[in-house]
Amino acid sequence: MPAHSKQASSRRAGGKAPFLHWMVLPTLLVLLAIIGYPVVSTVYLSFFEYNLLDFTPPEYLGLDNFAQMASDRIFWISLKNTLYYTGGTVLVSMLIGTAVALLLENLKGPVWTAVRALVVSPWAVPFVVVAFLFRFMYMQNGGIVNDILLDLGVIGNPVSWLNRADISLGAIIVANIWATTPFFFLLVSSALSGIPDAVLESARVDRAGLWSTIFHIKLPFLRNPLVVGSLLMVISNFNDFAKVWVMTQGGPGYATTTLVVYVYRMAFERFEIGYASALGLIWLLLLLLVSVFYIRLLWNRQND
């Protein structure tokens, strides 16, 4: 791929290149309408008190919404929950996905192809279904999770996984890990297959042990894909709505309320569009920060 971009940039150096190309115009215009305008509108509304149910025009508040946010206990709880949810999911999924990819790396044949297909299959389960499925399995009475754990003697009494403030977020994270692990498995598997044979060959000649092969030879090749992949998953989990909404709707109390759930409730249950916009704006800035990391990473790669 670097070879192509080099060719492309050398052609570009012709000097008479236009400022913009008409071919990107349709995309830019559509994005301007369905993303540009809403974002500007969010910024604008974040300075107003605007409740859809009041039927009164928006009232200018200045920075009041943001001041309110600083002292809004639920905002901080939801921010903390989002960080746990995203961090926990991405970290554990990455570890499991990498480990399973290494375990299956050199196993060939139809049986192992089938095993690989099974290992990635959770990726194809819609988020809503993941949520319902785990909600069913987590049931206090008659849920399979409690049934198995009781039989194994791990717990003495059935646990109400999703209704206890101390463990509900953890229970949702487990479900989310189940759904996210296949991404890292696929990512690492394809990165592993990209390691040049010569490198592995020289490790063999040097009689490098199993662990030193993994840590000193394979992991350096996995670093970049893992960084890019985790950033993508951080962004996608930051925005995840379906799983939390279906499993707990953010409860009990605010124990599993993530920022997305909080903004949704603010906008579409209380219809406080102004305050919801202010929350959304902070949200946007946080994500932009992550995006900048991601883009700088791609940028450095391209200029290597």
Partner: protein
């Protein structure tokens, strides 16, 4: 845990090699159980009678397997077939619209034949990461004011907010892999730029177009927040949103029926997924992963 590294261990390591292998298989078995068990549980429960599905001591294998839950989905009070068709139509159209608009942009970005190509490319990338929740209220107000709330158009518009930037960036990756030399010959023959795109590039990246379309389709199929907000009458609802909205009603304690509905919701995604699985990672990380 490779067989290559074990082989070098020599005869002294034979025992270690065997126990290493056993450990490897045990770990794989655990991983396999972890991924397959919930899916098995969904299918198994969907084949149970209503009573058996919620029994306090769950049965691992359905005692008397029945397709009753599936039959009831299509004969019950709820327009389940409509939900399915609504999802199929809106997701397909969103995928097609996104890909068609994205192709020329991806081509121009890949060939970088304009001065702001880098900036435009990164703009699209940033937009791809925008939190949907920020767009939700303004888009809702737009649809409300234009009378497009509760229409398929509004839903497709919503899906396009993530489908289009995603498609541009992914298609750019596919076009990057087409050597520029192929175009030179066509240019010498007097082809214009849009002719090169339509007659040479598009046929060459056809599999990429399908893959990109399916990705957008999957994302749209997965989406819950837009249909939940933009669609207000139940018979126009998408499949995932309908599951959420009806669970409080029809399915409240009917987990067998719920799991049957879940299995039907999963099936199209499963088929689509395995059709494009091989280009999955490459598509998602769009050229940023070496060796894909």
């Amino acid at each position: 845990m490779t067989d290559k590294s074990h082989r070098t261990a020599g005869s002294r390591g034979t025992f270690r090699a065997i126990s290493g292998r056993a450990l490897q298989y045990i770990c794989i078995a655990v991983a396999l159980f972890w991924t397959v068990a919930p899916i098995y549980w969904m299918i198994s429960t969907s084949l149970k009678s209503e009573l058996e599905a919620t029994r306090l001591e769950p049965t691992l294998i359905p005692e008397s397997p029945t397709f009753g839950n599936y039959v009831r989905l299509f004969q019950g009070d709820l327009p389940f077939v409509s939900f399915f068709i609504n999802s199929v139509i809106t997701c397909f159209l969103a995928a097609i619209v996104s890909v068609v608009i994205a192709v020329p942009a991806a081509y121009a970005l890949s060939r970088r034949n304009f001065r702001t190509a880098d900036q435009t490319g990164y703009l699209v990338l940033v937009v791809r990461m925008f939190p949907m929740i920020v767009l939700l209220a303004p888009l809702y107000l737009i649809l409300l004011n234009t009378g497009l709330l509760d229409t398929m158009f509004g839903l497709i518009l919503g899906y396009t907010t993530f489908g289009l930037p995603f498609a541009v960036w992914m298609l750019k990756g596919f076009i990057d892999a087409v050597p520029v030399e192929i175009e030179e010959a066509a240019r010498v023959d007097g082809y214009r730029q849009w002719e090169i795109l339509l007659r040479i590039i598009v046929p060459l990246i056809y599999p990429g177009l399908v893959t990109t379309g399916i990705f957008v389709l999957m994302e749209a199929w997965n989406n819950l927040i837009y249909p939940l907000t933009f669609i207000t009458s139940i018979e126009k609802q998408s499949l995932p949103a309908a599951l959420v909205l009806t669970f409080t009603g029809q399915f409240k304690t009917d987990w067998g029926g719920m799991m049957a509905a879940s299995a039907i919701t999963t099936l199209p995604l499963m088929i689509a997924f395995f059709a494009v699985q091989r280009s999955m990672v490459r598509g998602l990380t769009a050229g940023s992963v070496t060796g894909t």
